[in-house]
């Protein structure tokens, strides 16, 4: 048995790469600082919540959103990275429930619904939700009626998905801002209903 050299902590590995790039005069540090801020401030589920609220309040927008999600979100001042060429919006109904995942990595429409939460990237969710959808959703607190059809969407290409939740009863007459305030990242992934 040979003695393996010690492995650097992940934090040291990342810092080493950042210093090496900085040493080349590439201004990596200022880019990274700005990107860290935008990841926290710009890629948030409030973006998708505005899209959902608008779709609930404005039937013509809902139609455009379901036809071409990527064009429709631009109307609200949102954008998607260039390699996300398509956004498919999955409308829940009283009889159909949609849930999204990425079994091979952890792809998401992060500029719209926010960066993926930790459990979405864990092996348990990636392995199980395609095969044991009803069981996994129940374990996560969403016990769907037996006659509710489940559709699971595996993000295997650079098409991105978001769930359009069903508008809850009792929200008639609410402003779009108030509607947006009840829309969660979990509901846009499809592990919760509102």
């Amino acid at each position: 048995m040979t003695d393996e050299p010690p492995v650097a902590s992940a934090a040291r590995r990342v810092a080493a790469l950042e210093s090496a790039l900085e040493a080349r005069g590439l201004n990596a540090k200022s880019f990274v600082d700005a990107h860290v801020r935008s990841a926290e401030q710009d890629w948030v589920p409030q973006n998708g919540a505005r899209v959902v609220a608008k779709a609930w309040a404005d039937p013509a927008f809902r139609e455009r959103l379901l036809n071409n999600g990527k064009d429709a979100v631009v109307e609200l001042g949102l954008s998607m990275p260039a390699h996300h060429r398509h956004l498919v919006v999955l409308e829940n109904t009283p009889k159909v429930h949609n849930v999204i995942c990425c079994t091979q990595c952890s792809c998401t429409a992060y500029s719209i619904i926010g960066l993926p939460p930790d459990w979405y990237k864990d092996f348990e969710y990636r392995a199980r939700v395609v095969r044991e959808s009803r069981t996994v959703l129940r374990e996560m607190g969403l016990d769907l009626p037996a006659d509710m059809e489940i559709r699971v969407w595996d993000t295997s290409a650079d098409t991105r998905y978001m769930v359009l939740p069903l508008r809850p009863a009792g929200t008639e007459g609410w402003s779009e801002d108030k509607l947006a305030s009840i829309v969660t990242k979990d509901a846009m992934i499809g592990v919760a209903r509102l």
Binding site: E4, R12, R13, V14, V32, Q104, F123, R126, W153, A157
Partner: protein, 204 residues
């Protein structure tokens, strides 16, 4: 490649550790690693297919033991070393310890010849392709039959794009599979929709 990353339908995993309003990041280095990936893409050093494949090439024990952002960083740093942007010796010198990289890549491939155009409602079968390089066909649909629902815009063909092989962009088809067809007597009832590249499909 039939790698460790291809988890859809694997059994033996426990409950999802779900929490409401779950965190996205757990440490500052995770945010900086995520940003360094964006920096590398901006510099034109790598594309997302190369990046995903570099993660898939992680030694399986390392893949399973690493969290998401360690996998992300390992894919990124592997590509930057392979492309000669940084050297492993330089990085390990700065870090004062070793930096694990992914294993080497196998050859990629170009689009399938004579690709067919499909229409919504067509019954299609996923070809029995076994390739050593990158592929975006989850193994649980290999050889399975489903129904075309829609066609996407054309994308770079991952099996080529991850390897610097020339290929035409091609659409994916949103194909709906019955979970009963995917795992007979072994799954909860559902329709499983997968975006399947045109090269992977034939009429059933």
């Amino acid at each position: 490649m039939d790698g460790m990353h291809d988890l859809g339908g694997r059994q033996g995993f426990g409950r999802v550790r779900h929490s409401r309003d779950a965190d996205v990041f757990h440490a500052e280095w995770e945010k900086r690693s995520n940003a360094l990936l964006a920096f590398a893409v901006r510099q034109g050093w790598l594309n997302m297919d190369e990046y995903r494949h570099a993660i898939e090439r992680m030694e399986p024990r390392h893949y399973l033991a690493a969290g998401y952002y360690e996998r992300q960083f390992t894919g990124l740093v592997t590509l930057l070393v392979e492309k000669g942007i940084v050297s492993r010796e330089e990085l390990e010198g700065i870090a004062g310890a070793s930096i694990p990289l992914s294993l080497p890549s196998a050859p990629g491939r170009s689009n399938a010849p004579g690709r067919a155009r499909f229409q919504a409602g067509d019954r299609v079968r996923v070809k029995q392709d076994f390739v050593p390089g990158h592929i975006r066909m989850p193994a649980y649909i290999r050889g399975k039959t489903g129904t075309v629902v829609a066609e996407s815009p054309a994308y770079p063909f991952p099996d080529a794009h991850a390897h610097g092989v020339r290929a035409e962009d091609e659409p994916t088809y949103d194909v709906a599979f019955s979970s009963e067809d995917l795992w007979p007597h072994g799954a909860d009832a559902a329709l499983v929709h997968v975006g399947v590249f045109q090269s992977y499909l034939e009429l059933a």
